[in-house]
């Protein structure tokens, strides 16, 4: 299968969906730029033109409501946030309107096919307000679907799936993944929303991870394998709905659980997955679960502080060894050099 970058896969998924469904349009700031959201809206803009891919003023709150209104009348809007941190301004519309839309009216005012794309995570020195990951606060609310593609095939697949879904879907795309390459099928195959993926199977320890941390987990697993530890890596992909079965099946098998997410621990995804195991796979757990999240502070800019703020592949590998009672000390230098080039 041909390989694409994460960005190309997002673009292809969008274009193929728009080809099939004339109701889809894309808006938000910068979507029609030559740089088109790190290249992900460029082909769509060229192919479908300004009627279906159009720029907007910076007005996150009302624009979300506007997309909701268009969706209510039969469109499939894709609203894009170049940074998910701006999305706080849209939380009222997303959580009080979109998430409640179909339930609160007992289905009588139709479904809400709204798709919101937002870029999360660190680029370089993005700092405290341009690098957050809002999956946990969003997934807390019934009525929203929250997905986090890690690999190019799911970047495309979840885009396709979101654009076929009839409830609101939020797609969180990690800035550090846009350049990652991987095999992607030519045809528009949806990645099912609500299904996690076992990206590597193993019998010693289960590592459940999201987005960029799932990517790091794969590197960690390679190092672990070198040390004779077979880690099973689960890329969560969907936060809501959560694929409890895939997680539980793996934990029942390995009895050891490490969870890694791109955001903070408290009331975060790492805690959700750990709690799930403690409630529904308790008898199978052989050791304490281990949560890996951001340092418990806002994101600093200085490179020296960023280095200790963000967990890495080595953090995951060490945690896995620790839960298995092995010496976490001897992890080789597995962390990739940061190749990121500015300005954003």
């Amino acid at each position: 299968m041909r390989t694409l970058t994460y960005a190309q896969a997002l673009s292809e998924g969008l274009v193929q969906a728009m080809d099939r469904d004339p109701a889809i349009f894309v808006t938000g700031i910068a979507v029609d730029y030559p740089s088109g959201i790190f290249g992900t809206t460029v082909e769509a803009a060229q192919k479908f033109g300004p009627k279906r891919v159009f720029d907007s003023p910076a007005m996150e709150n009302a624009l979300t409501g506007i997309c909701i209104g268009a969706a209510a009348m039969g469109k499939r809007p894709v609203m894009v946030h170049p940074r998910n941190d701006f999305m706080f301004l849209a939380f009222d519309q997303l959580i009080n309107v979109a998430a409640k839309w179909s339930y609160m009216f007992n289905g009588r005012t139709g479904r809400m096919p709204l798709v919101v794309r937002a870029v999360i995570g660190k680029g370089w020195g993005q700092g405290a307000t341009h690098s957050q990951s809002l999956q946990a606060p969003l997934a807390h609310f019934p009525g929203l679907s929250v997905v986090m593609p890690t690999f190019p095939e799911d970047a495309k697949g979840l885009t396709i799936a979101a654009l076929q879904h009839d409830g609101p879907v939020i797609i969180l795309e990690h800035r550090s993944l846009f350049g990652v390459t991987g095999p992607v099928s030519e045809d528009p195959t949806p990645t099912p929303i609500g299904k996690a993926k076992v990206v590597r199977s193993g019998r010693h320890v289960t590592i459940v991870a999201t987005s960029f941390m799932a990517y790091e987990a794969v590197h960690a697993a390679e190092e672990l394998a070198r040390q004779g530890v077979e880690a099973e890596i689960i890329d969560l992909r969907s936060i809501r709905p959560l694929d409890e079965e895939t997680i539980l099946a793996s934990v029942r098998k390995t009895g050891h659980l490490v969870v890694a997410d791109t955001s903070w621990e408290l009331c975060g995804v790492v805690s959700e997955v750990a709690a799930l195991a403690a409630e529904k796979a308790f008898q199978y757990l052989k050791a304490p679960v281990k949560r890996i999240a951001l340092a418990n502070c806002p994101a600093p800019v200085s490179q020296k502080l960023e280095e200790v703020f963000y967990p890495k592949a080595s953090t995951i590998a060490r945690a896995a060894l620790a839960t298995l009672g092995y010496d976490p000390g001897n992890i080789g230098e597995i962390d990739r050099m940061d190749q990121f080039k500015g300005p954003y």
Binding site: G65, G69, M104
Partner: protein
């Protein structure tokens, strides 16, 4: 005459709620629209069935004026399965897609943005449907409304912003929320909307202004902002008159002056003057409509509750 009947139907419904709400059986915070009926009826009479309306917390008038049924409204308030929202939405979340009532919401500003989006989709589809959003002047305190006005003006969207200025947000006077000499129409014009202030208690004035506005929208000549001066008779939320609860944020005299300007009284007098109806006939209509409304409420109160098994439907 149809207009007058509509006014009566809404008035009886709201007053029936006021009377029955005190039984504590309508367990949903309710904002009555008594006194403001002419805005809802005047605007909706200028609309087609396929035009859509959106409203805020004080939405009964708009739901009914666009054709919503009294039985479905009453059922919704009683929390019954027969409610327009299956009893799940309550007083502030009404819908009737067949009649073009899409969405109402109790959080300021939300519905106006959604209405603006409906207009965007109408524009994309071509055709000449219009979207209307009813809201109070309190929404003009929220930034969201200016994002909407700006966007609608930029894209010349077929959306009508109907601001019911009843002088109060809950118990807060205008002077706490606007600088001296403020003019909401001037704000709308500064975003390049057509704007007009009218007497919201004069059904004919509202109808005529709405027709002008809707014509402009259908011609694709850009959004319109209508400021309708009116007044809420009863307390902000709940069934009582403020004086019954000794509230002092507005004077009894002010309330009475506005009750004097009752839109229904004025509509009735006009019909009588124009010889279209006699006082006696008006009373007959009123009684007939009240009877229908009472029946609808009685039936709603007897209607079935939602099945517990439906709790997770439509999440």
């Amino acid at each position: 005459m149809a207009l007058h009947r509509e006014l009566l139907r809404i008035r009886s419904s709201e007053e029936t709620i006021a009377a029955r709400y005190k039984d504590q059986e309508m367990r949903t915070p309710t904002h009555l629209g008594t006194g403001q009926e002419a805005v809802a009826v005047g605007v909706c009479q200028a609309l087609r069935l396929d035009d859509v309306v959106f409203s805020h917390h004080r939405c009964h008038n708009h739901f009914l004026a666009k054709g919503g049924s009294v039985f479905q409204l009453a059922s919704e308030l009683y929390g019954r399965a027969t409610g327009c929202s299956g009893g799940r939405g309550g007083s502030v979340h009404l819908t009737d897609r067949e009649r073009g009532v899409v969405f109402t919401s109790a959080i300021l500003g939300e519905a106006s943005a959604v209405a603006t989006g409906a207009a965007l989709s109408f524009q994309m589809d071509g055709g000449d449907r219009v979207a209307v959003t009813f809201f109070g002047e309190g929404s003009m305190d929220e930034g969201a409304i200016y994002e909407c006005l700006n966007y609608a003006a930029i894209k010349r969207l077929p959306v009508l912003y109907v601001c019911e200025n009843n002088l109060y947000a809950t118990e807060t006077r205008l002077d706490v929320r606007q600088a001296p000499g403020s003019d909401l129409c001037e704000r709308a014009r500064s975003f390049r909307l057509t704007a007009e202030r009218i007497d919201g208690n004069d059904i004919v004035a509202v109808l005529e202004a709405s027709q002008r506005a809707v014509d402009q929208l259908r011609r694709g000549e850009g959004p319109v902002f209508l400021e309708c001066m009116t007044y809420r008779w009863r307390e902000h939320v709940g069934p009582y008159f403020d004086h019954e609860l000794d509230r002092t944020y507005r004077s009894q005299q002010e309330v009475e002056e506005w009750i004097e300007r009752c839109p229904i009284k004025r509509s009735g007098e006009r019909l009588v003057q124009q010889g279209l109806a006699t006082r006696a006939e008006l009373d007959v209509w009123a009684e007939a409509i009240q009877a229908e409304v009472t029946t609808a409420f009685d039936q709603a109160r007897q209607a079935p509750w939602p099945e517990v098994s439906t709790l997770f439907d439509f999440v």
